[in-house]
Amino acid sequence: MLTRDGIAYRVACELSEGSYVNLGIGIPTLVGDYLPKGKDIFLHSENGILGMGPAPEPGKEDIDLINAGKQYVTMLPGGSFFDHPTSFSMIRGGHLSHAILGAFEVAANGDMANWRTPGEKVPGVGGAMDLAFGVKNVWVTMTHVTNKGKPKILKQCSLPLTAPRCVKRIYTDLALIDVTPEGLVLREVAPGVDAAAVQAKTEAPLKIAPDCKEMDVPAKFVAASVAR
């Protein structure tokens, strides 16, 4: 299985030159650390930034330059600042190519739940719905099962939806799964994991792609498979 950084690495490998990408909080944020070198990939933040670079060195933070996760960021050459209406014009208007988001649940038809949690004190949606409804390619990154070992990829979501039928692809610590009109298709398995093991931890049925293969990731991103 993959580490959290391994999931982020696998996602980053799939981002092609010229992608405009919004990274959510959690594993998605780590994707920024593994972007392919030498390619122009543009990171967007809801609060009015396009073209973010890596985190600043300690002591080099600028108090006016944070991302939507309230983390200090930097700018790459060619970036831009704008206001919230313009930022969400980019999101809702389909101008971003990718939103990489965490999720609590994804259903076989691409339904996603990532905003309300059981037992939450205060609900909050932020920009999650705008991203889920507006961005061309919504990719979910998450652990394949909950801390208690329950599947997160379900026949139907149990939590309130962020958006129906929005997810195109799911990256987990166990697998890379495409959401297609014919259902979920298992495209890759993590090193040391086989398709049967992935299905065992997935409530929704998986079709195994004819060319399903083991992920090609450096060894440092592979964790010992933990029984859950």
Binding site: S45, E46, N47, G48, I49, E61, D62, I63, D64, L65, I66, A68, G69, K70, Q71, Y72, F81, F82, D83, H84, P85, S87, F88, I91, R92, R116, E120, K121, V122, P123, G124, V125, G126, G127, A128, M129, D130, F133, G134, P160, L161, T162, A163, P164
Partner: protein, 233 residues
């Protein structure tokens, strides 16, 4: 000579009344009008309706106003941030009404009001809990939700540069909600880092033209907002 500058934040909030609706700019610290918020707190108002992206954090600025019990209703997108205890406790006791709006819809509702429009259809939220009770319509083959414009009695923002005519600029990520909020407040006040003579801001560099701004206060940033924060504040 038009002079929209005021000497103090106290003057700028003098007209705020019990029950007023108030837009607070900023997203995280950048653009948050901390000094106007502290001046507001001193007035001991009640039943305020706050429109802001979040619910405030800690015990200063909006967090302080929440702790003071001054807020009756909050319209926001994300009140769930760590450090929101002042709001969360009162919300859980049923003392504050909460209206959750998707962030892009919140920004657009504010712009819609400031632009004299009567609302808009957006795909965001269609078929979800946040569209319950709202009008929906199929447009170009896709379900949309109708959203109403959102204005307020007051809009308070923090800007970078300002002048006596009300022209404003913002540094980096300070623009956020501040640009539309300046258009949607019946009275709009900006606290600014720098007060420049009229004409010093190039016409191409103005982010909010002075027509949208009623008062400008030149005051140092709130000390909590002027410091680098721990990650995730």
């Amino acid at each position: 000579m038009v002079d929209k500058t005021l000497k103090t934040c106290e003057e700028a909030v003098a007209g705020v009344f019990d029950g007023a609706s108030i837009m607070l700019g900023g997203f995280g610290d950048p653009g948050l009008p901390g000094m106007l918020l502290e001046a507001l707190r001193k007035k001991g108002l009640k039943n305020l309706w706050i429109i802001h992206n979040g619910a405030g954090q800690g015990d200063s600025c909006l967090g302080g106003l929440m702790g003071d019990g001054a807020v009756r209703k909050l319209t926001c997108s994300f009140p769930s941030h760590p450090g929101n205890e002042a709001f969360a406790q009162r919300y859980m006791r049923g003392e504050i009404e909460l209206e959750i709006v998707p962030q892009g819809t919140l920004a657009e509702r504010i712009r819609s009001a400031g632009s004299g429009l009567g609302g808009f259809f957006t795909p965001t939220g269609a078929g979800t809990e946040l569209a319950k009770g709202k009008e929906t319509r199929m447009i170009n083959g896709r379900e949309h939700v109708f959203e109403m414009p959102l204005s307020a009695d007051f809009a308070f923002v923090r800007a970078y540069q300002g002048d006596r005519l009300g022209n404003l600029t913002f540094r980096m990520a300070m623009r956020n909600f501040n640009v539309p909020m300046c258009t949607a407040g019946n009275v709009t006040v900006a606290e600014v880092d720098e007060l420049l003579p009229a004409g010093q801001i190039d016409p191409a560099d103005v982010h909010v033209p002075g027509i949208f701004v009623d008062h400008v206060v030149h005051v140092a940033r709130h000390p909590v907002l002027a410091a680098v924060q721990k990650v995730g504040r």
